[in-house]
Amino acid sequence: MTKWQSTLLAVWLAAVFVAAAPQSTTSSTSWWSPGQGTPLPEFATYDNEQGQLGVLNTSGQLDTKGHPFFEPIGTNGRACITCHQPSDAMSLSVRSIRERWTATGGKDPLFAAVDGMNCPNLPSDDPRSHSQLLERGLFRVALPWPPQRPDGTPIDPEFTIDVVRDPGGCNTDPRYGLNSATPTISVYRRPRPVANTKYTTHQNFGVGPFIGKNGMPASVDPETGKPTSMNLMSDARAPTLAIQADDAAKNHLQIAGKLSGAQVARITEFERQVYIAQVARRDAGSLVEPDGPPAFGPRNLAADDAGVLGNNTTRYVFPLGGKWAHLPRTADETANVRNASRESIARGHDVFMFRTFWIKDSMHLNSVGLGNPVKRTCATCHGMHMTGMDTANGWMDIGTTNLPWATEVPLNPWTEAKPQMPLFRVTCKPGVRPHPFLGRIIYTQDPGRALISGLCNDVGTIVMEQFRGLAARAPYFSNGSAATLRELVDFYDRRYNIGYSDQEKQDLVNFLGAL
């Protein structure tokens, strides 16, 4: 590519991002900058394209001045709040990322070289250096190879790994790559919501000293010695909020030294009391009316029980309480539109809960005693009451990162599109059982949990995420491969050959967008 072409592409990329931004092209007023010092109210609402998100602080209004979650305590100007924005369900939408690029010319600490670029060795002012972040909302996660135990000792992995494709250049870079002095694998992942954490860290149903999916020892909380659900991060590498805070401070904030005990305590205290969920939806109106379905809104989340299996007709995953299934039509057209939308949400719930399909070749689902295939519903895997996570240790391979199911750019002579994601070839070593559904050689964009456990069967497994605040934090899946909720539903439809009708898809989208 010539310099002229390169410049043209950069201008075009910038134009695309501006065009993709919301109507108000200036910086979003809801953006929370590190150290801005304004209080976070007991309850705040933030508009999004599908309605409105609610953020609840059960401890009351929070003074953020001097608070380590909100202050730029690292060396790169970021704070935890940078990537966990209240308006974005305590995660970060690609929309907000693009707005920040436009508003700051790419100078926001959000775009720090360490992980806000495809690789730190790229030119920082070129949007193409940040394409993973700008196009899919992905941050670089650099993990040591071979994997290491919590004490830093290396694990002998069951597989070898080769870089097949490296569009960001980091995995083959002599300084940052797999063959560097400190062998590292770079994968690109979405930030998860830091909210509703009593659910993501529960120690209730399905959590024990040995993982119910493979019999391996579960990670324990070093402070209590108790096993954890390991459902906090996409690869389960940090078992507790405190360890995650340390990990993030080191790797994303580039803190000098280490978080103090007091800082960790304040950060985790905040994270334990903040709840997010959608509170209103265009057309459907308020989701949190006093007599409304008990599934919706952050107050219901804060009040309900964590770590409860909801894949049943007693607790339900998302309890609607029998509401909204059939609503009256009147001469009031506005009310009719609202009621029709609410009925669609209720139908979407029923699709989620009761629409069976064949779930096939999904590691840690089909391999845990249900058979392959198993005729079940969405709620089988997404079974935790109120969040739709797994109650047990929840990493699973549904094909979002493993080929042949992962979304790939179609290569042909008529397109200039290039693959975005890296591609790795994983080869299970001789003497190790082949992966039961993918065989001995696996191609993957992100080996997921396997980069921590070193197990062949974990290749491409990702800890499933809570279903809350989805409308505020597109794109979806750990690799941002679904730009919209419709694309998310379409992925499942393709992956499992479900054959949803258009109506079912729309109802599911409306339901998911209400959570």
Binding site: G215, P217, G225, T356, K360, P434
Partner: protein, 272 residues
Amino acid sequence: MNARQMIRGDVLWLAGWLASGAAVCFGAEGPRKNFVSCPIVRDTASVPCWLSEYDGELYYLTIQSDVTSPVTPPWLGHRVLVEGTVSAEPRICGGIVLKPVHLSVMPEPDASCNTMLPAEERYNLTFEPPRPPGPSKGRLAFDNAAPPRPAPAALPPTKEFVVPYDFDALVGFNHARVLTDMLEFARAVNAQEIEVVGYRGAARLSNGQVMAEEADMGKRRAEQLAVLLQGANLKSPSYKVSWRDESAKATGVDDYAMRRAVVTIRASAAAR
């Protein structure tokens, strides 16, 4: 010994041999059927049922339920080792019922095992399955089958745990419970010694073939259990790890029971 005695002795031996042979072939309840074949899944109006063909006959293995089921369904994409007894029950989903039955998913993938049959009215279940194909009614399918035992007044100083395995398999999803039991007992008695013996077994199939597990399976089982218990922070007891090969003992009757490890946990002297 005269000729009459010799004949009588031969008759007795023959009778004994036939009896043992009958036990091999028929067991106490019905004929044994041990074979390796592709599983077949047949949809029904409710949960799917799992079948397999052997020697021109269709056998019913199990139905889909949940993770508490004592017989978990096999996998398409893999062959399955079936070790079962022909039951007198009426056919289910068109298949002769094997009950009890032990199923082992064979580790190597086999793409030829891909038969999914559509539901047919005549094969719909004639009973309510323990778990519907979607959400449960609020309880796991088989949790009520084994009510929790009352805790003993005093823990014994030594306890033996038998860990069963599928054919050629190591620890999997179904071992979390027994491992937890071991861990809790070891902690409760402040275990001083943990002895692990891993066994390699075999399966005598109905066609006479003996299918032995991988040569080092007993060793791998024993070593893995020790590593897992240590990984669960059970590091202070001493570990004695050994393994035995019982693959020559396969008779075709309950061969699955050979595929095991035995973990003996001994309390510290102070706790005895």
